[in-house]
């Protein structure tokens, strides 16, 4: 079969070069949906969005619409949001509470277990029709890690915990401050970007480098009035975690490395955090970092910003972003975290505005024939990857493309590997 593209020549991790076709080619994009998104663990929701049976949230896995809900046994499950009869969505609300999901086209209705429980004009169907065969298509594996719910269509996946590997240690720096865990404040910000989803995902995995230039205006706001960005911001040292499964996280290691709201900072009990998480995490990934869980879930630990980059074609993505807080935070601290995240990394935020501008810029010019053939440079920090004895797994410098190279190596591997649904077909 020739419908799959061999992407080996498009990602040169040894040379640190990337072919721009991976951001623009429609065949490559369709292949990503089949081979990157379908087999991977994808972020669905936060457990705090489900408190009682029937609470639901609608989202996407790749471009597939799904309903995430809590069933009668309080288990979080996910279903393809498409009626088995003619295919319309059976739930068109963003979130809410319900007893069943009814298609408004012909009225087929499904319960919280996905079973087809009501069919108008049922006697029009032949005796061979069995309602039990026509339940909603269920996402076969749903699991959560410290409040983050992931699902995969892969019938035989490695476990979520195993796929996170050492990345979990870094994630705990945001998700496991105390035994109470985290909660969502205030719903979901959703906005569109004219850019390939990987531009955002790789940046959150690997790119501290852009901060000083792209976010210069925001850094000035966080510095004393009338002065440029503080020296300790621009000349930070830090580490970048490089995960073999394509995850990545970067963080400064510096005593003044927080951009966060003062109220939140003052509330944090750093002694308790050191006791629980260890000095390395408190001084590293618990601070002002960035991270991506392959393929398209990212977060900013200090802001409590968690987000997914939904693919919407080779040249478009949709950003869905939540603000999470520690459940143990009192109301005024939660509010400070929410407002700080809104004003920095909401769609009107002083940081987020400039990120969107970069991605749409890179995308817009990549369609030129000559431009598309000029490779992009991912050589920063080449050869710097090592085990540093302090942070788990392989790490590189703060200013490095190492996690980006690893992100694309994982992407290349999946793109060149037939998924379960292909039956060995290359």
């Amino acid at each position: 079969m020739t419908r799959n593209v061999d992407v080996s020549g498009l990602v040169d991790t040894a040379g640190g070069l990337l072919d721009r076709a991976i951001f623009t080619d429609d065949r490559i994009y369709r292949q990503e949906l089949r081979r990157v998104f379908a087999p991977s663990w994808l972020f669905l929701a936060h457990t705090d969005q489900f408190h009682k049976p029937g609470d639901f949230f609608t989202t996407y896995m790749g471009e597939d619409p799904v309903i995430v809900t809590m069933d009668k046994h309080r288990r979080i499950r996910a279903y393809l949001n498409s009626c088995r009869h003619r295919g319309a969505r059976v739930c068109r609300a963003d979130f809410g509470a319900t007893r069943n999901f009814t298609c408004t086209y012909h009225g087929w209705s499904y319960d919280l277990e996905g079973k087809l429980v009501s069919i108008p004009n049922r006697d029009g169907y032949p005796e061979s029709f069995k309602a039990g065969d026509w339940g909603l298509v269920e996402v076969p594996h749903v699991d959560s890690y410290h409040g983050l719910v992931f699902g995969t269509w892969n019938p035989q996946p490695v476990s979520l915990r195993e796929s996170l590997g050492d990345m979990a240690w870094y994630m705990d720096a945001m998700l496991d401050h105390d035994p109470e865990g985290t909660a969502v404040v205030g719903g979901v910000h959703k906005w569109v970007l004219e850019g390939n989803w990987k531009l955002a995902a790789e940046q959150f995995a690997t790119d501290w480098y852009h901060v000083n230039m792209s976010h210069a205006s925001a850094l000035m706001l966080l510095s004393p009035i009338g002065k440029g960005p503080k020296d300790e911001i621009v000349h930070r040292t830090g580490r970048q975690y490089v995960d073999p499964n394509g995850h990545g996280a970067g963080f400064p290691v510096h005593p003044k490395n927080r951009f966060d709201a003062r109220t939140v900072h003052q509330w944090m009990d750093y002694d308790a955090l050191r006791a629980r998480l260890g000095d390395a995490r408190v001084e590293g990934p618990l601070t002002n970092g960035h991270a991506t869980v392959f393929p398209n879930f990212s977060y900013l630990p200090v802001n409590g910003s968690i987000r997914i980059w939904h693919p919407k074609g080779p040249d478009r993505m949709e950003v869905w972003a939540w603000t999470i807080v520690d459940k143990s935070m009192p109301p005024e601290v939660r509010e400070a975290q929410r407002l700080y995240n809104l004003r920095t990394f909401g769609p009107s935020g002083i940081f987020e505005q400039d990120d969107g501008e970069n991605w749409s810029e890179v995308q817009a010019v990549s369609n030129g024939f000559i431009t598309n053939g000029v490779p992009l440079n991912y050589q920063m920090g080449m050869g710097s990857e090592r085990e540093d004895g302090r942070f788990p797994g392989t790490t590189s410098e703060l200013y490095s493309d190492a996690a980006g190279r690893s992100f694309y190596a994982r992407w290349r591997e999946l793109m060149n590997t037939p998924a379960w649904h292909e039956g060995g077909d290359r």
Partner: protein, 188 residues
């Protein structure tokens, strides 16, 4: 102009002169925003400003009452005068790349309906102050061919201040679910 306090104006529709005054006030405000004179725009906002633009969600019809995010939930803006001033300082840094080169915007303000405040509904305000509903259409054109249209409604409380008006409360409802632009870099 109606400047003397009459009995029984609370909640009543403002007169023609007041409507004209409010329209002119909004046209001036729109001009400041479209000309990028944000510091001058700040002067139209009162010190106790509450400036709020909540997100809006698709809800089942029986849960429709909750389709506008509540206070404390996801918002595009949830600002004080101080936080707006902080955002505006960014534009003066010379490095706010999302607005460099600057966008072209046009704020069209229409459907203006002004009523005198009923202090029972708005503690701390008087019948001289106004509750004004208006509609907006904001067009943004950026770089070579980027276009965004933001349509929605506003509910303001305008406070009488000397011979003029100041914006003390503003709630902005954008008529979108997913924000159909890469960012919000203007004000409404």
């Amino acid at each position: 102009m109606t400047t003397t306090t009459e009995r029984g104006r609370a909640g009543q529709r403002a007169d023609r002169d007041t409507h004209f005054e409010v329209e002119q006030f909004y046209y001036h405000e729109a001009e400041l925003l479209d000309d990028g004179r944000y510091t001058d725009w700040l002067d139209l906002l009162d010190e106790d400003l509450d400036y709020w633009m909540p997100t809006r969600t698709n809800r089942l019809r029986r849960q429709q009452a909750m389709s506008v995010a509540a206070r404390g939930e996801a918002a595009f803006y949830d600002e004080t005068k101080e936080s707006l001033a902080w955002r505006i300082r960014r534009f003066d840094s010379g490095m706010a790349w999302a607005e460099d080169p600057p966008s072209r915007t046009r704020h069209l303000i229409t459907n203006i309906a002004a009523r005198h405040v009923d202090p029972a509904d708005h503690p701390g305000f008087t019948e001289d102050d106004l509750v004004v509903r208006s509609a907006f259409l904001v067009y943004r054109n950026r770089l070579e061919r980027e276009e965004n249209v933001f349509a929605g409604g506003r509910t303001d409380v305008l406070r009488r201040a000397g011979s003029g008006l100041l914006i003390a409360r503003r709630t902005i409802l954008l008529d979108q679910n997913t924000l159909l632009s890469k960012n919000i870099s203007t004000f409404f």
